[in-house]
Amino acid sequence: MCVVCGCSQTQRNRVPAPAHPSRPQGQASPERLLAQAATAASDDAAAPETGPRIDPLSGDLDYGAGAARVSVPGLSQVRAIKLEHDILGANDRIAAQNRAHFAAHGVLALNLVSSPGSGKTTLLCATIEALRRRHPALPVAVIEGDQQTAFDAERIRATGAPAIQINTGKGCHLDAPMVAAAFAQLHKHSHEQGHAHVHEHGHDHGHQHEHGVKHSHAHAHGHEHTAPSLLFIENVGNLVCPALWDLGERAKVAILSVTEGEDKPLKYPDMFAAARLMILNKIDLLPHVQFDVARCIELARRVNPGIEVLQVSASTGAGLDDWLHWLEHELGHDHGHSHDHGAGHAHASEQALRVRVAQLEAELAQLRQTAAAPG
């Protein structure tokens, strides 16, 4: 909405339309003023919307409600360029390269997201040690994201697993180029430490591919390095920002500890919508905290009907087998599909299938609409 005159442009305008019938600084050309007069008629007069929505009963502030369209008077000279590019496109291209790279190397990459203090690193250490007992030959590596310090990477390295720490400085999330660089470091370090990989690298690890290049990474690799391995990417502790950044992972795993409150999935819906699995951690503390597990799962499924849920205590080991089972399942099947492993997951599995049906129906409806559209 415009702070100058209160006008609000209709939302689906494809052609840029000036929005100020009365311009305070007299900078507009006559052509533009004519166009303004024409479009002003279609502008709807909306309520002021630049501030947060205020709940009249509680006084709570909702910054998500307003449209906040503030207009600044522009100049008259115009050359229009239609761009229509995704703002996250550059990240998503690198993420796609990471994904192809991981697939070519037989790497199952998981992006672990949570708020600070949910127990991600403790869970990872317990997982690495348990996996070593069950699958001594399975390589497990970790990329650690934190604003500062290498404490977490050191904790992981103490288990014997290779780890690379990414410090984001003031950054609140990892992005795909960071993960590409860290993965290259992991690779380099494992080579330097004498791990006898038998593959010949006949491809560019530098990821300088420009957009528009159809990437055929998996086929370009001529090496034999497809024994499965596991890469945990522990994102910066933050339940908001990491939801938007694809790192090239197979799945996001959201970790929520029972000391945090059962309503987090609804408070931070984007993260739980983006995750395939929610791990409820620290369940050994359930007797000491007010945390309604059933309600938490219900709220998570409001924002993501297909989300799978596991209940774990990294410190006592309770439920760890279910998590290991989930990982083994993912390692054994390289193509994403729904899961049906063990009792208690039938509901999630059915939900996932129902959501898949809904996705396909939505796609079909969209295609039908496109086909039916004139011109």
């Binding site: 522009g74 360029i81 550059a90 920002c241």
Partner: protein, 115 residues
């Protein structure tokens, strides 16, 4: 807070475009931000205002076009509007919804000047 990174992404797209098209500055920029894109519109605008000085975006009129959230409801087998994730279907109150629209996060178009 990620809106600052997104603003950086917008500036990168503008600079890349300037390389191709050879313009000096942006007069007007239109962004499309879906209601379900996970972006705070006011924070994005603030971030853009912060990075604009000294760049091709300095002084540009920036319009954020919000596209409404839409989801496919499994209960109704139809497309319904939703304002945010976690909202029920307005028709049948089911939570079995699959978002189908309102996730956009794009630079739509810009008006530029050569001088």
């Amino acid at each position: 807070m990620h809106e600052a990174s997104l603003a950086g992404g917008v500036l990168q797209l503008v600079d890349d475009c300037a390389q191709r098209e050879g313009f000096a500055r942006v007069l007007e920029l239109r962004l499309e931000v879906g209601q379900l894109a996970g972006v705070d519109v006011a924070a994005l605008r603030f971030a853009l205002d912060c990075i604009a000085p000294g760049t091709r975006l300095e002084g540009a009129r920036i319009e954020l076009v919000e596209t409404p959230g839409q989801a496919w409801c499994l209960g109704c087998s139809t497309r319904v509007p939703i304002a945010q994730r976690g909202d029920p279907c307005p028709a049948c109150s089911s939570y079995l919804l699959e978002p189908t629209g309102g996730m956009e996060l794009r630079v739509l178009d810009l008006q530029v000047s050569d001088d």
